[in-house]
């Protein structure tokens, strides 16, 4: 096709995208179809990839088709394997997509769909995709080194250690918040609990099968596992209505917390082939399949958006989480817009599999665009359910009470009309006793997904099945992440403490492993328990901490990328990474300061500690505390959370300091000072 024709196509996409976005953004009360959100997003992704992603590839990175990638140079058939770019795209996407992009947008929907959508689109184009792509690029140029190693190499030992410590902290908070989502979704739900519990024996069976009966037949055993899972969901419906079985699988949040903690310790010392690996197969394939299914479902059903474009809660008084649009929206939606965690993945296995540098834009930039699309779909799912139902599910009991009547009254007063009957009917439709205060995002997403899937397949009668399918799908990969994350945390801890107590470093010693596991589980378990006991729902405390830590890691990764650009003597292009770095710094530091010092106890940790401290000094009990000891505990927890936020900010400022120092040093040098490895010529092979 000639050049003018190509330009015309891009012009058409631009106009169509602008029109879609205008339709979504400028609605004045009329109902908008969710497809407009999808088309706006896809048009923007296409344009961003073609004009910004490739600009970065050609001008900023100056990718070299002839330069040998580590996969080719160090090919060992195991870790370093040149991989077809579509295959690698699938691998990379499966590694980055998880619960984060699904939950954040659901929580952000309390401000309406528009703020979340705009941040998802601008954030991914300018920050998230840039980060993933840049980190992939610099890691590929360094034999696939990890983020921590690269920070150490390019910026120094001290910032390297600080970044490593920051990574351990973010994993701890991440595991706590993920576990909290599962607890919130399964509390008082025998159907959900039974189904998720059933995945353990199913995984055992799959593990034994793929180790001893038919070793390595992944497709076969995954299919068998999937069929068993479907039976577990169907049978779960029987369990939920069975008068003797139902109570055996009905637990409150605290009981589930203890069970999860025990599970975390045991699972992380079991052999990987028995539980972790087979469940990883199930959760990975189910995740990818469901994401595909959701995309098809949205296209097929073309549902209307019921949530307003913007709600009055942009002022920060929302029930789901507290804090105003700036900075908290940008903290709440991390994954999908920009996720620091991806810098660990982009410097993990992916750079060792990249066949040619020219594939990097599609994998790095394109992969993140795809994740952003998953987040947009989650936002759609949360916005097509009735806003009254949305707020009933996501508001803590402290605000709306525990009965359908109190919830309906409170929410109607906020301006979202809903009747107790509607709440009860929704609960009945999805096969649950109640949907009130099912915070955490996962149940809301499950209701939205169940509506889409049921409209496409099976109708009303299948709602309950699809709801529990969606819960299972989320719980499954969250539990896999908890399991794998505890292991990673444990190894990190054994590495760290091993420097002082060499005996702990031995990963063959059961005592050492168990001890490190217990330590690691206690770390995230503490925050989990605190979140479960929190009257404001836990998400209000933990999700912002998670968001701050995740954005902090992104800012660290982008600082590293900026340093590398300076060292390559390409500082003229450093704005590409500087803009998102500065934006993340502003958001993270403002949010951190507000979480610590804000005078509203719902936002500021210190204000909340003060509130309970004052009550203590007057011998008063404040809910949820039932004793003076619990009052002291709450005061302590708030100080702990405040310290944690402060540590995140300090880590960030320290890395920033070293980053600026390195940039200045690079500026003074006459020639490039990077530590790139292995230049070679493809044609010589």
């Amino acid at each position: 096709m000639n050049a003018i024709g190509k330009q015309l196509i891009w012009l058409a996409i631009a106009i169509f995208g602008a029109f879609s976005l205008a339709t979504v953004a400028l609605s004045q009360g009329e109902t908008i179809n969710a497809l407009w959100m999808v088309t706006a997003a896809v048009s923007i992704y296409l344009i961003a990839y073609r004009f910004y992603g490739l600009y970065i590839a050609h001008n900023v990175m100056q990718l070299d088709e002839k330069r040998l990638t580590p996969a080719v140079r160090l090919n060992d058939g195991l870790d370093y394997v040149p991989t077809h770019k579509n295959v690698l795209f699938g691998h990379h996407f499966a590694a980055i997509a998880g619960a984060g992009p699904l939950v954040g947008p659901v929580l952000a929907a309390q401000m309406g769909y528009l703020p979340g959508l705009l941040w998802l689109l601008v954030g991914v184009v300018m920050a998230g995709a840039v980060q993933d792509f840049m980190v992939l690029f610099i890691s590929v140029r360094r034999n696939g080194r990890s983020l921590g190693e690269m920070v150490k190499e390019e910026m120094g030992v001290v910032p390297g250690l600080i970044a490593m410590f920051g990574t351990f902290m973010i994993i701890t908070i991440l595991l706590a918040v993920l576990a909290l989502i599962v607890v919130k979704a399964l509390a008082e739900s025998p159907w959900g609990t039974f189904t998720v519990a059933a995945t353990i024996p199913i995984a055992f069976f799959m593990g034994i099968y793929s180790r001893y009966l038919r070793p390595g037949h992944i497709a076969e055993i995954s299919l068998i596992g999937l069929v068993l899972l479907m039976f577990a969901i169907i049978y779960g419906g029987q369990v939920a209505v069975d008068p003797t079985l139902a109570p055996m699988f009905t637990f409150d949040g605290k009981q589930l917390t203890w069970m999860l903690l025990a599970y975390g310790v045991v699972a992380s010392v079991l052999p990987v082939w028995l539980l972790l690996a087979p469940r990883d197969y199930l959760s990975t394939f189910l995740k990818i399949g469901t994401i595909f299914g959701l995309a098809l479902g949205i296209l097929w059903v073309a549902p209307d958006l019921k949530m307003p474009a913007m709600t009055k809660f942009i002022d920060g008084t929302g029930p789901v989480w507290s804090g105003s649009l700036f900075p908290f929206l940008f903290i709440t939606i991390a994954c999908g817009a920009v996720s620091g965690f991806h810098s660990l993945i982009s410097s993990g296995t992916t750079p060792k599999l990249l066949e040619n540098e020219m594939h990097a834009p599609m994998i790095g930039y394109g992969g993140m665009l795809m994740e952003s699309f998953v987040a947009v779909m989650a936002l759609v799912a949360a916005s097509i359910i009735d806003p009254g139902v949305y707020f009933a599910m996501n508001s803590p009991a402290a605000l709306i009470g525990t009965s359908p009547e109190s919830a309906a009254a409170a929410i109607s007063q906020w301006g979202f009309m809903i009747t107790p009957e509607m709440l009860q009917e929704t609960a009945r439709n999805v096969g649950e006793n109640t949907i009130i205060s099912r915070t955490g995002g996962a149940p809301t997403l499950a209701v939205g997904m169940a509506q889409i899937f049921a409209s496409a397949l099976g109708g009303q009668a299948m709602m309950a099945f699809w709801y529990h399918f969606a819960i299972l799908f989320e719980a499954l990969f969250i539990l896999t992440a908890v399991d794998a994350g505890t292991r990673v945390g444990r190894f990190m801890l054994q590495d760290l403490i091993g420097a002082f107590v060499p005996a702990l470093k031995n990963t063959k010693s059961i005592t050492g492993n168990l001890l490190a596991s217990v330590l690691c589980v206690s770390a995230w378990g503490y925050f989990l328990y605190q979140g479960v006991a929190d009257p404001l729902g836990g998400i209000n405390t933990l999700w912002p901490l998670f968001g701050i830590s995740n954005q902090m890691l992104a800012a660290i990764a982008l600082t590293l990328c900026t340093v590398v650009l300076f060292k390559m003597k390409r500082q003229a292009y450093a704005w590409v990474t500087l803009i998102p770095t500065i934006w993340l710094l502003i958001c993270t530091l403002t949010a951190g300061m507000e979480k610590i010092f804000h005078s509203n106890p719902k936002i500021g940790f210190l204000a909340n500690a003060q509130k309970f401290q004052t009550a203590l000094s007057q011998d008063q009990l404040l809910a949820p505390a039932k004793s003076m000891a619990q009052m002291h505990q709450i005061v302590f927890n708030n100080y702990l959370n405040a310290s944690l936020a402060a540590i995140f900010m300090l880590v960030l400022l320290a890395v920033l300091f070293y980053g600026i120092k390195e940039c200045m040093r690079a500026l003074r040098s006459q020639h490039p000072t990077t530590h790139e490895s292995g230049v070679g010529d493809l044609q010589s092979v």
């Binding site: 090919n75 060992d76 058939g77 195991l78 870790d79 394997v81 991989t83 077809h84 579509n86 295959v87 690698l88 699938g90 691998h91 499966a94 590694a95 980055i96 997509a97 998880g98 619960a99 984060g100 990890s146 994993i171 991440l174 993920l178 180790r211 070793p215 390595g216 992944i218 497709a219 990987v272 082939w273 972790l276 690996a277 990883d280 197969y281 990975t284 394939f285 990818i288 994954c335 996720s339 965690f341 991806h342 660990l344 993945i345 993990g348 296995t349 599999l353 990969f477 896999t480 992440a481 794998a484 994350g485 292991r487 990673v488 190894f491 990190m492 590495d495 990963t507 063959k508 995740n550």
Partner: protein, 75 residues
């Protein structure tokens, strides 16, 4: 590598299917065994080659096993 004659529908489907299987396997950390065999034959012809079962276990341990301080998945 491409056959001289135009590939039939069936051959095209076979190729698509092989990419599909490769993608699914790599998603859970299992690289192509054929690629490993090819690599060993080409560059380390003198060294012993793992059979599929050993290869599978080795990769499984590498993805999840002891000392792996890298997260293989995101949140």
């Amino acid at each position: 590598m491409r056959p001289a004659h135009a590939p039939s529908m069936f051959e095209k489907l076979k190729v698509i299917n092989s990419y599909f299987v490769q993608t699914a396997n790599l998603m859970v950390g299992l690289p192509s065994y054929q690629n490993y065999l090819d690599h060993m034959a080409k560059t380390h012809a003198d060294k012993p080659v793992m059979d599929y079962e050993t290869f599978f276990r080795e990769r499984q341990a590498a993805r999840y096993g002891e000392g792996a301080t890298r997260m293989s998945r995101c949140c």
